[in-house]
């Protein structure tokens, strides 16, 4: 089944990019989920769409090729993350209000740029739901660079990110620069979203960051184990989702997310089964 993915260049790019985002999306997702910031990923993905629409618009209207939709999407996503942080500090008691503000702003801007770029086309459809054929060699190399950068930063700041996620007050008291670390984290999130959009699409990118984590949370003992298990689930979802999407001619965003949901359901059943087995064993022992 993998033969086509290894044989054709464009499919190989997609496959390798998929493997990369199967690691970085759940990696960042682990911190996002435990910090209860899952919706931030959604808000940022919509801002990224505005950036992509902007990129398509300038590409089409002004024939400017150095601003690719991937880069403009990334730029908008990072700017969106900075705005979210600003809004969260303005509305300290209602921090979640930053999410609908940025999300609706992102959609609003997207609509404007899409209209200016003369409406919907196939390329935009690919950005919404992902595509197996849209990843160019350059896209792959950019996403490889971003992935390596993200992996290095997470490794270097793992202990600070973990401490901050568990107990912000303790982190601040012990002398960790909570604000700076949080800012770094939110910018990394923006980069992961922009990098993942080629494969899973704007509308489903947050799912790849949260569903594998939700599944592993049920089974893992400890944070590191949860992180590793999330990556395993993320990779499984991407590989199975890409192959089935290609053979069934369905955008991979849909198949990847559905595989993630199946993994989630299996993990919930497994946990229930384990719990029941332990209960039966305990009853027999008494």
């Amino acid at each position: 089944m993998l033969a086509d993915f290894l044989e054709f260049d464009f499919l190989r790019n997609t496959f390798l990019t998929g493997l990369l985002i199967g690691v970085i999306a759940p990696l960042l997702g682990t911190f996002i989920v435990v910090r209860r910031l899952s919706l931030i990923a959604d808000a940022l993905s919509h801002v990224t769409l505005a950036g992509i629409a902007f990129g398509l618009f300038v590409e089409k209207k002004f024939a400017i090729t150095f601003i690719t939709p991937l880069y403009s999407g990334m730029f908008f996503s990072v700017m969106g993350s900075i705005f979210i942080e600003k809004l969260r500090s303005v509305y300290k008691s209602y921090q979640e209000i930053a999410i609908p503000i940025i999300l609706s702003g992102g959609v609003g801007l997207s609509v404007i740029f899409i209209a200016l770029a003369d409406g919907f086309n196939t390329e935009l459809f690919n950005y919404l739901f992902g595509s197996v054929s849209a990843v160019s060699r350059n896209d792959f190399l950019s996403i490889l660079g971003i992935s390596v950068f993200i992996a290095i930063i997470i490794t270097l700041f793992y202990k600070e990110l973990f401490t901050l996620s568990f107990d912000e007050e303790h982190a601040r008291v012990s002398g960790i620069h909570a604000k700076r670390i949080h800012f770094l984290f939110i910018v990394l999130t923006a980069l992961v979203i922009a990098a993942s959009i080629r494969i899973v699409g704007v509308l489903l990118v947050s799912a790849l960051m949260t569903l594998p984590v939700a599944a592993s949370m049920r089974l893992a003992k400890g944070f590191k184990q949860m992180m590793l298990l999330s990556i395993v689930f993320g990779e499984l979802a991407v590989i199975i989702g890409l192959i089935t999407g290609y053979y069934l001619s369905i955008p991979p965003g849909g198949t990847i997310v559905m595989v993630s949901i199946i993994i989630l359901l299996l993990s919930i059943s497994l946990k229930r089964f384990r719990y029941r087995t332990i209960k039966v064993r305990d009853n027999n022992e008494h």
């Binding site: 982190a171 008291v173 012990s174 949370m217």
Partner: protein, 251 residues
């Protein structure tokens, strides 16, 4: 008297034009096990926040380990177990080992990794609070009393000279409270850690503490447990701002 670990002079603190703390002169000597008591809203948690540098006084000066708080950098000399420690998200999948390791994060420093010596330190701190058996269990699955021990281990792992605990026994059953105080006494006597304990539990605390301070916006009493026990209902009513009936019991 031993040299002061904390020294506060003429502290005033107002929040939104409301006076929370008034003319506080307070000294915590090295080696003391001080219980800080007072009614809700009396400013106990604010006092702790001022000591930890989380907020600034409207007036007055604070010295930590003989250094003005503005210049104080050695925060790892101070361990803190917050009132909120126990209200963490119970579903957070972190093992006891991982939680205790957080106590070393700032000490190890940015861009550096835990080494073998740090790992043994973490296991030693877990052992010190009697939780070795649960080192690799998720902390959310433990009882309230066990979780509190884990948070003390997290505060102890960076070898603090002063440990501040803000109402750590809330929600912990009587038997575990007793064990908890035994642990604190051991830390104070054998590990030579100065303790500042904010509590409502005046009964048990007086059996273990070496110093007691009563705070209700200003400091109403500062002395040893014997002197505290001699306080009359009238004196305590002044501290609490309403009539107090003393009820004594065995535990």
């Amino acid at each position: 008297m031993n040299e002061p670990v904390i020294s506060m002079k003429n502290i005033r603190y107002a929040y939104e034009n409301k006076q929370v703390l008034n003319e506080i002169d307070f000294i915590l000597p090295k080696g003391a096990f001080m219980g800080l008591i007072g009614p809700n809203g009396g400013g106990k948690t604010t006092l702790i926040k001022l000591i930890l540098g989380l907020t600034k006084p409207s007036q007055g000066s604070i010295t930590l380990f003989n250094e003005p708080i503005e210049k104080f950098k050695a925060w790892n000399k101070i361990g803190f177990v917050s009132q909120k420690s126990n209200s963490f998200n119970k579903g957070f999948p972190a093992t006891v080992y991982e939680v205790v390791s957080m106590g070393l994060t700032a000490k190890v420093g940015y861009l550096k990794f835990f080494k073998h010596k740090h790992k043994s330190k973490i296991l030693h701190a877990i052992d010190l609070v009697g939780m070795s058996e649960y080192a690799y269990e998720n902390v959310g699955n433990l009882s309230g009393g066990q979780q509190q021990r884990v948070f003390i281990a997290r505060a102890l792992v960076s070898d603090p000279e002063l440990l501040i605990l803000d109402e750590p026994t809330v929600g912990v059953d009587y038997e575990n409270v007793q064990r908890f105080y035994e642990l604190l006494r051991d830390l104070n006597k054998n590990q030579h850690i100065t303790l500042l304990l904010v509590t409502h539990d005046t009964g048990t605390m007086t059996e273990y503490a070496t110093d007691i301070a009563c705070l209700n916006r200003s400091l109403h009493f500062h002395g040893n447990p014997e002197e505290y026990k001699e306080l009359t209902e009238k004196d305590l009513s002044r501290v609490y701002g309403h009539p107090v009936n003393l009820v004594t019991h065995d535990h």
